[in-house]
């Protein structure tokens, strides 16, 4: 990667802008350092890409999710109608929603492959235990965000899948029934369930995932990729 000064060397206007910003933010040094930091490469193969692919897909999910929220209306008598509206009436709505749905499926796959790669490469070993733990938290959060998103179309598949899922959450002894009651927002799967799943799906879980990804990246940047077995 070239240094910033090299990039703007023969562009006087751009160089003035960069220098003006650097005088105020003192940012050129850190960016140059990050872009030119050496990484231990001999053991890096295409299988190391799946963390980055997962990160990219999460970005796609955030973007398309924001776009879907422009038209989606949570509620037992509006959810399905608004999805139908997105699919049939909104310009390219079918595309945005399908990207969101397919990327969600892919994301589960890439996250899982990423975890398998780290496991089989032994990359969870010291000094990277914390990153492994954060990764496991991210896996759970990803499954949760997929589960809460699955209910939102409020079609037969969504309804019965969530019925089964919340029921499974209710099976452990002692705490189980309370967890199920909490997830459903009552005795039954109703509009209250949609609303709390929607809040979890688009507010709570994305923020948690973003924070966790931040920690994940910070650690891998600091520790570097593992040398493999």
């Amino acid at each position: 990667m070239p240094y910033i000064d090299d990039l703007v060397a023969d562009k006087p206007v751009l160089r003035k802008v960069v220098d003006w910003l650097d005088d105020r933010l003192d940012i050129k040094g850190p960016i140059d350092y990050q872009l030119n930091k050496n990484v231990y490469a001999p053991t890096i193969t295409w299988t190391n890409c799946f963390g980055g692919i997962s990160f990219t897909l999460f970005g796609v999910q955030v973007l398309t999710g924001i776009l879907l929220a422009f038209y989606y209306q949570p509620g037992s008598d509006t959810s399905y109608e608004s999805i139908k509206y997105i699919m049939d009436t909104v310009h390219l709505g079918w595309l945005i929603r399908s990207i969101h749905a397919w990327s969600a499926n892919l994301l589960i796959g890439t996250v899982f492959f990423h975890m398998a790669r780290v496991y089989f490469a032994g990359a969870y070993k010291p000094p990277r235990e914390f990153n492994w733990i954060v990764g496991i938290v991210l896996l759970v959060l990803t499954i949760l965000i997929a589960f809460t998103g699955y209910l939102l179309p409020w079609n037969q598949l969504a309804y019965w899948a969530s019925q089964v899922g919340t029921h499974i959450a209710g099976t452990p002894p002692l705490a189980g029934p309370y967890v199920e009651y909490f997830l459903k927002g009552g005795e039954d799967l109703t509009t209250a369930t949609i609303n709390r799943f929607y809040a979890l799906h688009m507010l709570v879980l994305p923020v948690l995932i973003a924070v966790m990804i931040g920690a994940h990246l910070l650690m891998i940047r600091r520790q570097g990729p593992s040398g493999g077995l």
Binding site: P2, D6, T89
Partner: protein, 190 residues
């Protein structure tokens, strides 16, 4: 700042014309790609025209299966809803005309016209003269509406849900007119 310009190999080996050309080509493709990404998002966010704006703006007659218009006298002589089809350009909607005789609360001069498309999942609701007791316990001696797909039930005038998964009553056309004894309708069922 010129002292900083000597880190990479770029200075030692100045770009030859074809490298410069390829760099510019990448720039062109990047610009096209960016535009191709932004345009769909903008058109997506832009509010689409609602269905009512695209609705058929002229009155169309309700016909039977053979294409013959349904007349007011035919409707008034019936004890059950009269089934018909509303043709608007390419689009055909199954509808029913409710005779005023079985729709006592109706005050408008033209009879009530409802869509036979089930508000649940879009099957065509059937009128069942042989059924007399709805799921909510009400009785209808001359029958009532029942969807063949998931058993949504409606009274003969379609004005409420008696049972089944339907989220709302049958759609009612607001613009109904009688011209030359034919029953005509304007607007699109939602």
């Amino acid at each position: 700042m010129s002292d900083a310009v000597s880190h990479g190999p770029e200075d030692a080996f100045p770009l030859v014309p074809r490298q410069r050309f390829l760099q510019q080509l990448i720039g062109v493709f990047a610009t096209i790609g960016t535009i191709a990404g932004i345009v769909p998002i903008v058109t997506y966010i832009w509010p689409p025209k609602s269905n009512t704006e695209k609705a058929e703006e002229s009155f169309q007659p309700i016909t039977d299966d053979a294409g013959k218009p349904i007349t007011l006298s035919e409707v008034n002589a019936s004890k059950t809803p009269v089934l018909g089809v509303l043709t608007q350009g390419e689009k055909q909607t199954p509808v029913a005309v409710i005779p005023n005789a079985i729709n006592p609360g109706w005050t408008k001069p033209a009879p009530k016209v409802v869509s036979r498309v089930c508000p649940h999942l879009g099957c065509t609701v059937a009128f069942r003269p042989d059924e007399h007791k709805a799921d909510d316990g009400e009785s209808f001696p001359d029958g009532f509406w029942q969807c063949p797909c998931h058993r949504s039930q409606f009274p003969p005038d379609g004005g409420k849900v008696l049972g089944g998964p339907a989220p709302r009553p049958m759609f009612v056309f607001t613009d109904v007119a009688v011209s030359n004894n034919d029953i005509t309708v304007k607007g699109v069922a939602s």
